[in-house]
Amino acid sequence: MDDDLSVRVLLKSILSRDNHDVVESADGRSAFSSLAVQKPDIVLLDLMLPDYNGLDILAQLKESEELEPIPVIVLTGSSDRESKLTALSSGAVDFISKPFLPEEVLLRVNTHLKLHDLIRSLRVAVDNLESDVIAAGKIQNALVPKSNPQGLSVEWIYEPSYRVGGDIFDIFKLDENRYFVYLADMSGHGVNAAMLSVMVHRFIEDFRASIYDGEFDLRSFMKELDRNFIFERFNLFFTIVSAIVDFKEGFVLLSNAGHPTPLMQREGSVQFLEGKREALVGINMIHGDVSKVPFRSGDRLLLYTDGLIEVMNEKGEMYGEERLRNLMKSSSDIDIRSTALHLKSSYESFKGSTLAEDDITALLIQF
C-alpha cells in the first residue's frame, strides 16, 4: 500500500522477479477492500496515505482476529524515526526506509515470510499437542472411579497438576465384605507419567482378572508389580500404597511401597500408620511385607500422594504431615464428604496463588 505510483511499480517489479504475487493499493479504502477479498501473506504499508494514517491501518489490522497474524512491514522516510518506533510497537514486524535497495526489500520480505511460516506451523503443532494432551487427560480420567462402589463409604480428591498427571487409583469390590484399593504415584508428571499410570492401571486390572477375587493376595500382587515394572524399562518408577479393607473381620491389610504414610482417624485421634515399608516399585526390593491394622466402625483411613504434603505456599513452606494430622484431627466430628472438602480447602488456602508442582490425590475410606 503506497500512494506513490513509482514506489508501487518499483516494489511490484522487485517482488515479481522473485515469484511473489503482488496486489497494489494506492489508498487506505482500496487497501481494506482488497484485504477483505484475499488474505495476503505479508503487507508492505506506507505510513502516509492520502485518506488514512498508515498507523491507523496498522492498528485496525492488529485488531482483526483474522488479519492480525499477517506480518506488516512499514515503508517510511529515512528521517522519520518516531513513526518507525511507533509502528514497531504497534505490531509491525519491520520497516524499510525510502529510498531502498531491491536486495534489501527482498531480504526483509523473504525473512519475514519464512519467520511467519515457522510461527504458523509452530502454532499448529502446539494446538495439536494441546488437543492430544486434553484427549489423554480424558482417557486417564475415565480410568479412575466415577462413583462409590456399592457398600463402601469413600471420598476422593484427584487433581493432576497439568491436564494429565502421574497419580492413579482404583477401588474394586472383592466379595461381600472386602474391597481392594490402591493409590499409585508415577515419578514425574505430564504425559510420560500419565502413560505409565495407564499401563499400571491396565496391569492391575489384568492381574485381578487372572485370579479369583477371593484369592487376591496383596503380597504376590506387590511382588508382581515390582517384577513387571523394572526401572530400566521406562527409566521411571512409581510408589504405591495398596490395601484390602475387610469389613467382616474389621481390619485393613496394607502394603506401602515408597509411598507417604497412610493415616488413620479413630475416636478423635489421628495416627500415621508407619508399619512395614517397602522400597519404591521397579528396583527389585519388594519383599511382600503386609501390615494388618484394626479397622472398626467409625474409623477412617486416609491414603494420599506426596503432592498433598508437598504443596508449597508463597513463603516456600510445605503443607506437611503435621498440618495434615491437625486438619484430620479437627475433622473427626464431621461426615467424610465434608472432611474431604475441608481438606481440599485447607491446602488450597495454604497454597494461595502458588502453582501446584505435583499432582494431588487423596482417598478417604470410612468403616
Binding site: G188, L236, M285, D306
Partner: protein, 114 residues
C-alpha cells in the same frame, strides 16, 4: 548448573554450582546431564547434597539411573551433605537401603575412601 569433577583420578563428584531445587525442568535437565557424564570410569561416585534444596521424583529417578550405571560396574554411590528433608524422602522411598548416605562433607568422604 551441574558439575562433575574427578578426585584421585577415580572418584567422581557430582555437585550443584549454586543452591537450587532439583524439580520440574531442572530435574529433567539433571536426568539428561547425568547421561553425558563418564560415570563408568569411577570406582565411586559421590553426590554432594550441599546445594540441593529439594529434589522431586524425576530428580530421584536420575539418582537411580546414576546408581544403576555405577552399580553395574560394581562401584558405590555415596550421597553426602543431604538436608533432613531429602534424607526423610529417601527413607520414605527406602532408597537409603540402595544408596550409601553419609553425614559428612565431600572431602571427608573422599578421605574415608582413601
Amino acid at each position: 548448573m551441574f558439575e562433575f569433577k574427578k578426585a584421585n583420578d577415580e572418584i567422581g563428584v557430582i555437585s550443584l554450582v549454586k543452591r537450587a531445587r532439583i524439580t520440574g525442568e531442572m530435574s529433567a535437565n539433571f536426568r539428561k546431564w547425568q547421561e553425558t557424564v563418564d560415570l563408568k570410569s569411577c570406582s565411586t561416585v559421590i553426590v554432594d547434597g550441599n546445594n540441593i534444596e529439594f529434589i522431586d521424583s524425576m530428580g530421584i529417578a536420575a539418582l537411580i539411573s546414576i546408581y544403576k550405571t555405577v552399580s553395574a560396574k560394581g562401584s558405590d554411590l555415596i550421597l553426602v551433605n543431604l538436608s533432613e528433608e531429602i534424607k526423610k524422602l529417601l527413607n520414605t522411598l527406602r532408597l537409603d537401603r540402595l544408596f550409601i548416605i553419609k553425614n559428612c562433607s565431600v572431602v571427608e568422604a573422599i578421605k574415608d575412601l582413601c
